[in-house]
Amino acid sequence: MSAGASTYGDRRGILGALGRDGLLQVILVANTVIMLAPIVIMVFSAFKTTPQIFQSPFGIPDFTQVANFAKIWSETNFLRYLLNSFFVTGTSMVLILTLGTMAAYAIGRYQFTGASFILMFFLAGLTLPLKLAIIPLFMLMRDLSILNNQLSLIFVYTAMGLPTTVFIMTGFIRTLPSELEDAARMDGASEARIMWSIMLPLVRPAMVIAGIQNVVPIWNDFFFPLVFIQNDSLKTLPQGLTTFMGEYTTDWGVLFAGLTLSAAPIIVIYILLSKQFIAGMTSGAVK
C-alpha cells in the first residue's frame, strides 16, 4: 500500500491528493447535495408564484411572500387533512409496532412448531405489492362497510407494515442475549413484564428503524385514500392537496407550499429519532 502510494503520489491524481477518506468525503458531499436539492427546490418554490417558478426555477425567492400558504389555509381544509393524516399514520404505526414487536418476540424467542413457517408467512408479505390487490381490497372494504372510513386505510397500512417490522424486529431480538430474560425470570418477572421492562427498552433502536421505514410511505400514500376515501372531511394530506392539481392548469406555487407543509412533520420526526439509530443500547449488557 505505502509503496504503491509513493509511486502514484508523483502524479497527484484525485486519489493521491485527497486519499481514500477524501474521496469518500467527496462522494458523501455529492450524495448530500443530490438528496437535499429536491427538498430545497420544493421549499423555494413554495414562496414563488407559478410564473416565477418557470422563469427562475433555482432562484432564491422572497421569503416574505407567503401568499401560497395563505391560499392553502383559506381555500382548503388543510388543518382537517393534516389531522386526518396524523390520525391514520399514528394509529397505523401504533398497531404495526405493537403487533409487529409482539409477533417478532414470539417468533424470535419461543420455540414452537411452525415458528419458521410463520416467519416465512410474514416475509412472503414483503414480496407482495398490495396495490395489485386493490380490487379485491375494495370489495372487502365494501363488504365490511368501511369504505369511506379511515379504518380501511389503517387496516391496509397495518398489513403493509407488518412484514418489514416483523423481519427487522425478529432479527434484532435474536441478537439480544437470552441470559437477560433468564435473569429477569430468576428475578420473578412474568413474561409480560420481561417484554415490557427488559426487552422493550432494548429493542427501541430497531423499533425506530422499523418505524421510519414504515412512516414515510404511509404518510405519503396517495393511492389507497384515492380509492377508499371520497368524503372531503376524511381525506389525508396528499389526497387533499390534489385540489390544486387541475386537469388543465395547476397552481404549482400553492402545490409546493402544501408539499412543504406536509413534508415538514416527517422531516422533524426523522431528525428527532435519528439519534436512536446510533444509540447502542445493549453495550455493557453482556461482555
Binding site: P177, E179, L180, D182, A183, A184, R185, M186, D187, G188, A189, R193, S197, I198, P201, L202, M281, T282, S283, G284, A285, V286, K287
Partner: protein, 354 residues
C-alpha cells in the same frame, strides 16, 4: 437452611440426551463446584436447578420439597450468569432493585438490602452508573449483588470468572470465597477450570458426558481419583497414564524398563498414573526405572517441569528444582515414589486399590 437432593435427573434436547440420571446430595452451607470439560452438561444441570429449563426426568428436592414444577423465582434460588446479564438500560441500583421489588418487599426493605449488598461488595460509589460504564470486575460484583438482595437459600454461579482477565480472576475468586463465609448460603458453582474448583470447593462434582464421574473434597479427588478421567482432569500438569504390565512387584513397560512399586493386584495389564511430583529423574541412562528422552523443559521460576518421552511414546511430566535443568534430547531414567502412584484398570479405567 438449604438441603438439595437431585434424584435421577435427566435432560434431553429433542433426541439428544445431555444428562443421563444425576444423583447428588448437597448439604446446607456447602460450596459445591461442578467441574468438567465443555459440553459435559454442568451448565445444563445448573439451569435445571434454577428452573430455567424443564427436566426430562427425575426429581429435584429443596429442603425435602419437590421443586420440579415451581417457577424459578419461587425456589429461593438466585443465579449469577456467565455474561452477568445486567439490564443495560438500568443503573446499578435499579438492577439490584428489580428483583427485590418483584418479591413484593416494601420500599424501605428494598433500600436496606441494596445498601447492605452495596457495602459488602463495595458498590456504593457505583450505584448510579449504567452497566456499560463499569469494568468487568465491577459488573461481576453487581451481578453478585443482584443475587444477594434477594437473600436466596441457594446461589448458583455459572462460570462467573470466565470473562475476567487472569489477574482479576484470582482476586474475585478470593472475594467469592470470603462472601461464602460471610453470608453462609449454599453455593453451587460451575466452572471448567480445575484450579477454581480446587481452591473454592468444599465438594467437587466432576462431570463428563452427562454423568457424574466422582464427588468428593478437592483432596479426595487429587489423592484418590476414582478413574482415569478424574485423575487426568484434576491436577496440573495433567497426570500421565502409562500402559504397563504387572510382573510381581514391578511394573514393566515393554522395551522401556520397569519400576518397583510394592505389592500389586494380580491383573496383568494396567494403567499407571504418574503425577509430576511422583516422578524422579536421573541423568544416568540405563538405571533402574523407565528409560526416556527429554523433550522440553518448562521453567516456572520456583520450579520447572521436564517433559520426557518414554519408549512407547507417552509424554511424562516431571517436576524438578529450578536449577535442575535438563537439555532436550538427553537420555534419562525415570523412577517413581512407590507410595504416590495411581493404578487404574486397563479396561474401564477404574481405580485399583490402593
Amino acid at each position: 437452611m438449604a438441603q438439595l437432593s437431585l434424584r435421577g435427573i435427566k435432560k434431553s434436547f429433542r433426541n439428544v440426551d445431555v444428562l443421563h440420571g444425576i444423583d447428588l446430595e448437597i448439604g446446607d452451607r456447602e460450596f459445591v463446584v461442578f467441574v468438567g470439560p465443555s459440553g459435559c452438561g454442568k451448565s445444563t444441570l445448573l439451569r435445571l436447578i434454577a428452573g430455567l429449563d424443564p427436566m426430562s426426568g427425575g426429581e429435584f428436592l429443596l429442603n425435602g420439597k419437590r421443586m420440579n414444577d415451581v417457577p424459578p423465582s419461587r425456589r429461593g434460588i438466585a443465579m449469577v450468569f456467565q455474561s452477568y446479564a445486567l439490564y443495560p438500560h438500568m443503573d446499578v441500583y435499579e438492577n439490584m432493585a428489580f428483583g427485590a421489588r418483584l418479591m413484593g418487599l416494601d420500599k424501605g426493605e428494598v433500600e436496606a438490602r441494596i445498601a447492605e449488598a452495596a457495602r459488602m461488595l463495595r458498590l456504593e460509589p457505583l450505584l448510579q452508573r449504567k452497566p456499560r460504564e463499569l469494568s468487568g470486575g465491577q459488573r461481576q460484583r453487581v451481578a453478585i449483588g443482584r443475587a444477594l438482595v434477594r437473600k436466596p437459600q441457594v446461589f448458583l454461579l455459572d462460570e462467573p470468572l470466565s470473562n475476567l482477565d487472569a489477574a482479576l480472576r484470582s482476586e474475585v475468586r478470593l472475594e467469592i470465597a470470603r462472601l461464602h463465609r460471610q453470608i453462609g448460603g449454599t453455593m453451587i458453582y460451575v466452572t471448567h477450570d480445575q484450579v477454581e474448583a480446587m481452591t473454592l470447593a468444599d465438594k467437587i462434582v466432576v462431570m463428563n458426558a452427562g454423568r457424574i464421574e466422582q464427588v468428593g473434597s478437592p483432596r479426595d479427588l487429587y489423592e484418590t481419583p476414582a478413574n482415569t478421567f478424574v485423575a487426568t482432569f484434576i491436577g496440573s500438569p495433567r497426570m500421565t497414564l502409562v500402559d504397563v504390565r504387572c510382573e510381581g512387584e514391578r511394573l514393566v513397560l515393554p522395551n522401556g524398563g520397569s519400576v518397583h512399586v510394592g505389592a500389586l493386584p494380580d491383573v496383568g495389564e494396567l494403567k499407571l498414573g504418574l503425577r509430576s511430583d511422583a516422578v524422579r529423574l536421573s541423568r544416568t541412562a540405563g538405571g533402574d526405572g523407565f528409560a526416556g528422552q527429554v523433550v522440553y523443559t518448562e521453567y516456572l521460576g520456583d520450579n520447572a517441569y521436564v517433559y520426557v518421552r518414554l519408549a512407547d511414546g507417552t509424554l511424562v511430566a516431571a517436576r524438578t528444582g529450578p536449577d535442575d535443568l535438563f537439555e532436550p534430547d538427553h537420555m534419562v531414567t525415570i523412577s517413581v515414589e512407590p507410595g504416590s502412584v495411581h493404578l487404574f484398570s486397563a479396561g474401564d479405567g477404574r481405580r485399583l486399590v490402593p
